[in-house]
């Protein structure tokens, strides 16, 4: 029986109420839009990429606590990382929210480990990964809107 507090951890609630990097980037050179047509969540992720490095990142939009907190913590986690590192982190994060387990060491995930409870709520996996999918699209320079469906 999944527990609510496993999903709505304090850190997640705190980020959902006061999301970090929650703004458009003046200097962004890549952006992408993502939405979840089932629940209406909708985010735009802005990145400023210098060579291979994510110099700065911001996001805007609306969504549930899980999607907003995930977007907020993602921006903190990937700032300063290379594109490949961000992709690797997404893969680990994706495994965490779908299976509750991380690839090898949970330390790679840092604070993102608080999302492990999402795996007990399968319908909420899309909420947790929306911003990550959108970031990938921005980094790959995809033009079309990303949908979770």
């Amino acid at each position: 029986m999944p527990e609510l507090r496993d999903l709505y951890q304090e850190v997640i609630l705190e980020h959902s109420k006061a999301p970090r990097n929650f703004h458009e980037l003046a200097q962004s050179n890549q952006k992408a839009e993502g939405f979840n047509p089932l629940c209406g969540d909708h985010f735009t992720v802005y990145v400023n990429v210098d060579g291979d490095s994510i110099q700065d990142i911001g996001f805007q939009g609306s969504g549930c606590a899980i999607s907003k907190a995930s977007a907020s913590m993602m921006t903190q986690a990937v700032k300063g990382k290379s594109k490949a590192e961000a992709k690797e982190l997404f893969d680990t994060f994706h495994k965490l929210v779908t299976t509750g387990e991380a690839n090898g060491d949970r330390d790679d995930l840092g604070k993102l480990a608080v999302f492990s409870g999402v795996s007990e709520f399968p319908v909420r996996v899309k909420c947790a990964t929306l911003a990550w999918h959108t970031l990938q699209a921005a980094l790959e320079g995809k033009q079309e809107k990303i949908s979770t469906e």
Binding site: M1, P2, L4, L7, Y8, L13, K17, L38, C39, G40, D41, H42, S62, G63, C64, A65, I66, K68, F121, V123, R124, C127
Partner: protein, 425 residues
């Protein structure tokens, strides 16, 4: 914690029984699923606008059909084929009585309201709507009463016009009247809004349209489970319903159309059953209603729908309407009294639905937390994205009621909402 009810005394002063001539505890025992647990809690099912639960008599009718009566209809001389045919016919008679159609030939079995509307758009619409013509709908329609008309308008170069609603979620009748012009070829309007619960003033809408000789299609999916519908008294030209929203099985519904309109319309799909005779040169189409029923129909579904109608008739739709009105009014009152809760859709005339948002909490989170309490509600845009845009919100939480719901379940919903607010406090 700033989330206590403004009037906590409501519960204690309110009588628990409704006084209506309806034995809810007995009715609840008719629905096997209502006895089950969900996530360790007694199920509280408040998602009836999405689909209703099925009484034992409906489940039994379908089982009996497949165990004892199954055969294809209209084609065998053998015993079972005759039995299945007569049962299928009887189901259509039950629908006729339920919505007071003049004749069974005006009732087409389809998969549901969505298919019924597509049928009209693709037959009546394709013949009667041309370039520069207009189709008029309202701002509170379900996607199924928007998209089929959009597809038709795209194909024909016609224009889809949308009559606006006010902040309470009511159709602005004056604006609607202004949009009825010589270019308007059909009006399509919900009887009851699935997202807001608004009951539209059909008598006025139909009168206004008929003054200009414009036919009116009514999407009745959310109305028939809650109130008496009389298609002849309404004088609507088309009326649609879905069995699964009125305690019958999924996969079947009905299109009602006035006989003279159906007679003039081309067929929808070609195939068996919809023909009188076929040669490679020419096919003569079957008479109504079979002209619109190509292929082997969902016989078990029709029989199940017939059983649901018999069940509703035995309880009495007026008793149902009266009882539900009390429960929905109680829900409206209790939810309105919660701080941080805002109702979306506050029309004077409402049925079945209480849609709401909670300050600073996304409906999706509300749905997950209530689910942990065994409470099933719908969260999202309710297949009515334009309504969400109208109210400037991404989604709502929607509690929707049937006659087996109780005031105690409303209390549980209210306690669940308070718990949601505690989690996010």
């Amino acid at each position: 914690m700033n989330t206590v009810a403004k009037s906590p005394s409501t519960e204690s002063v309110r009588p628990r029984s409704t006084g209506a001539s309806l034995d809810v505890e007995k009715i609840r025992r008719d629905f096997p699923i209502l006895a089950r647990d969900v996530r360790g809690k007694q199920l509280i099912y408040l998602d009836n606008a999405a689909t209703s639960q099925k009484p034992r008599v409906v489940i039994d009718a379908i089982t009996r059909y497949y165990e004892q009566e199954n055969a294809n209809i209209h084609r065998g001389v053998h015993f079972l084929s005759e039995l299945a045919t007569s049962k299928h016919d009887r189901a259509r008679q039950a629908v006729r009585g339920f919505i007071n159609a003049a004749d069974v030939k005006e009732l087409i079995f389809v998969r549901g309201t969505t298919e019924a509307i597509n049928l009209v758009a693709q037959t009546y619409g394709r013949v009667n709507v041309g370039s520069a013509d207009e189709v008029l709908i309202t701002a509170m329609e379900h996607h199924s009463n928007i998209v089929p008309w959009q597809m038709l308008c795209d194909e024909k170069g016609a224009k889809l016009r949308v009559a606006p609603i006010n902040d309470a979620g009511e159709l602005i009748l004056d604006e609607f009247a202004k949009l009825l012009t010589s270019r308007t070829k059909i009006v399509a309007v919900a009887h009851v809004s699935n997202a807001l619960g608004t009951v539209n003033p059909l008598a006025e809408i139909i009168q206004l349209a008929h003054k200009k000789n414009i036919p009116v299609l009514v999407d009745g999916a959310q109305a028939v489970p809650h109130m008496k519908v009389d298609v002849q008294a309404l004088d609507c030209d088309f009326y649609t319903l879905s069995s699964h929203k009125m305690f019958g099985p999924m996969g079947i519904g009905v299109l009602y159309g006035k006989a003279h309109l159906l007679e003039a319309m081309p067929p929808y799909q070609g195939g068996g059953d919809m023909i009188s005779s076929v040669t490679f040169d020419k096919t003569i189409y079957n008479k109504l209603p079979f002209k619109f029923e190509a292929g082997t129909p969902d016989v078990a579904g029709a029989i199940g729908l017939g059983a649901a109608i018999d069940y509703l008739n035995a309880i009495g739709i007026d008793n149902i309407a009266k009882y539900e009105h009390e429960v929905v009014s109680y829900a409206t009152e209790r939810l309105s009294a919660l701080s941080g809760v805002r109702l979306i859709g506050t029309a004077k005339e409402r049925a079945g639905v209480v849609s709401f948002v909670i300050e600073n909490i996304h409906p999706h989170d509300v749905g997950t937390i209530l689910d942990q309490e065994g409470i099933a509600i719908r969260t999202g845009h309710h297949c009515a994205q334009p309504i969400m845009q109208r109210f400037g919100i991404p989604a709502t939480a929607r509690a929707s009621f049937a006659f087996y719901n109780t005031k105690e379940e409303v209390d549980a919903l209210v306690n669940g909402i308070i718990k949601v607010q505690e989690v996010f406090a």
